[in-house]
């Protein structure tokens, strides 16, 4: 099924360069610095996970990569070109599902295809991705009839249907129970392997980062700067009790300021 999504493989991933990005918000007249000289180079097809304390600027970084905002200083580049506006090649799955309440789940998933005028040719994909996130039985219900986790999965489907080259994920599994979470992590991994997109995942869950990503980046408290970067070169499927991963986990937790052994 995941294969079907990747059938027209041209160049299905992009490189993302975040070069010396500092970002400030104007918070009711108060200057709030959120990012402090952050540089990350992500290769095409790479899977990078971002860890960091709440409110440090992880979502902001994803908004910059999506082109929803431009950095105060520094540059964000896709394949060497500056990102100045949103583009359906780079899709952001927001922290809140933000489904349109006046559209059914199916019509929510269809938004991207509709907006780009591809709905006629690619309508079959909607059912594919709904099956992928296990929502095929809920295609015709309205968002308020979904649970929080189901809404998150619908939002994921809404992104995946567009076959993005860069997938920006903002804690997409935050509201899922641990079992569904595991399954969705595996689905995402399969999809990433077969479709080949570049992935940047924000998460609070160290284990999730280690199970999925090629590289884990730890951000400091606000204003966020990079405090650690770990390469995870274990083959998939990874086991959470893998000795190497356990050691990495301990190291990462320490970087996040949780020093006692948990």
């Amino acid at each position: 099924m995941a294969l079907a999504l990747a059938e027209n493989v041209v160049s299905n991933s992009i490189a993302l360069d975040i070069e010396g990005v500092t970002h400030r918000y104007d918070l009711d007249g108060r200057d709030l610095q959120v990012l402090d000289n952050v540089s990350i180079v992500i290769e095409p097809g790479e899977f990078v996970a971002l860890l960091g304390p709440s409110g440090c600027g992880k979502s902001t970084l994803l908004r910059l990569a999506a082109g929803l905002e431009t950095p105060t200083t520094g540059r964000v580049l896709e394949d060497g070109r500056p990102i100045i506006a949103p583009d359906p090649d780079r899709i952001l799955v927001f922290q809140d599902a933000t489904l349109f309440p006046w559209r059914t789940v199916r019509d929510n998933v269809a938004i991207g295809l509709e907006a780009r005028g591809l709905i006629r040719e690619l309508e079959y994909r909607i059912d594919e991705v709904l099956k992928l996130v296990k929502l095929e039985g809920f295609a015709d219900v309205y968002p308020h009839q979904l649970s929080g986790g189901m809404a998150q999965r619908a939002a994921l489907a809404r992104a995946l249907v567009n076959d993005p080259k860069l997938l920006l994920l903002d804690e997409p599994f935050g509201k899922l129970d641990s079992l569904t979470r595991l399954r969705m992590q595996n689905e995402l991994l399969e999809l990433w392997k077969s479709a080949g997109f570049t992935a940047l995942l924000v998460t609070h869950d160290v284990e999730e980062a280690l199970l999925l990503a090629d590289r884990v980046i730890v951000l400091s408290d606000r204003p966020a700067s990079i405090v650690a970067e770990v390469r995870v070169d274990r083959p998939h499927p990874r086991r959470r009790d893998d000795a190497g991963l356990v050691a990495l986990r301990r190291a990462l937790l320490e970087k996040l300021g949780i020093s006692h052994d948990v």
Partner: protein, 333 residues
């Protein structure tokens, strides 16, 4: 313990279910009683002031009473219509009482005197004798209202979307709208005479203005209040400005738009009388003024009741349209 709870719940459940299915419709019988009372009072007591159609009114209320007797036996077989009737049972009872009291105070005691008040048979008399003219008036008013209301809400909606969407539009438009909004319709009459080729066009303009302004204001507010994240989501998914307006801003603000349309509906009815001052030959508003001038208040009341019923019917229709379009809100509100 649990048995008693089950008893209580099961008991009330059974009782409330059982009543409408098997028994008589008690409120129906009571309504028949009050309507019969109205009929008896009308027929039995002498009129101190004479009006036409006294006997006819007695017959009509008697027919109503008979109908309620019949319904109280059969209502449980009428399905959803029956349930609606049962729901309004207390209203039917009070309506009968109201007719009886009205009858006594006007025609039988004369406490509410002739030119200003009319007994129910006075209105009935108007309907019986003047129905042709009333029908023509309804048609004329319908044409004026339809053209005015629909052009008004269309322009108001489009203007409201523009005001809510575009900063530049809002900069120039909002102050104007706030200035124009509170001006009473009659104040526009002098310039409408100058601006429009015929008085009919001027009347349409007044109705359109009354219905368009609340739609414009509420649509603009609705579009302005749309959650920014909806735009962000749509933009990352490749939406153009056009998509953002038509597929995000408008559907998201539709609940507000409907509030505006409801207000516009009421205002448009209120302004009909003024609009038909402008040299109309027919129309309910014209009918009201004409008969007020001749102190024919029974005719005025008769026309007012027709207007109120039409307005209530249109409100009802608008609710149906709204529930169609905003079905997604059902579980939220």
């Amino acid at each position: 313990m649990s048995a008693t709870i089950e008893d209580t719940f099961g008991g009330t459940g059974r009782r409330s279910l059982a009543l409408p299915v098997t028994g008589l419709w008690r409120n129906g019988l009571l309504a028949a009683g009050t309507w019969l009372l109205a009929s008896a009072v009308t027929y039995g007591l002498p009129d101190v002031i004479t009006w036409g159609a006294t006997e006819l009114f007695a017959i009509v209320t008697l027919a109503g009473a008979i109908l309620f007797v019949a319904l109280s036996l059969t209502v449980h077989r009428l399905g959803s219509v029956g349930r609606t009737l049962v729901h309004y049972g207390p209203w039917f009872i009070v309506l009968g009482l109201w007719l009886a009291v009205w009858e006594v105070l006007t025609a039988k005691l004369g406490w509410l005197p002739k030119p200003f008040f009319s007994p129910p048979q006075g209105l009935l008399h108007v309907y019986v004798t003047d129905w042709e003219r009333l029908l023509i008036c309804v048609a004329y008013t319908g044409r004026l209202w339809g053209l005015g209301f629909f052009s008004g809400i269309l322009v108001g909606f489009a203007g409201g979307v523009a005001l809510g969407w575009s900063k530049r539009f809002a900069y120039w438009g909002m102050p104007l709208l706030k200035l124009i909004g509170p001006v009473p319709a009659s104040a526009w009459i002098p310039c409408t005479f100058f601006l429009f080729p015929t008085t009919f066009h001027a009347s349409i303009f007044l109705v359109a203005l009354a219905s368009g302004i609340p739609v414009a204001i509420l649509t603009a507010a609705g579009v302005g209040q749309v959650n920014r994240s909806f735009y962000d989501v749509a933009r990352t998914l490749g939406a153009s400005n056009r998509f953002l307006i038509f597929k995000v801003a408008i559907p998201a603000s539709l609940p507000n738009v409907f509030v505006g349309v409801f207000m516009g509906l009421y205002y448009s009815f209120a302004v009909l009388v003024v609009a038909e001052m402008l040299g109309a030959k027919f129309g309910l508003g014209w009918y009201l003024q004409f008969n007020t001038a001749y102190s024919a208040y029974a005719n005025v009341y008769a026309a007012l009741i027709i207007m109120a019923l039409i307005c209530a019917g249109l409100v009802r229709l608008l609710f149906v349209v709204r529930d169609r379009l905003l079905g997604w809100q059902k579980g939220i509100l």
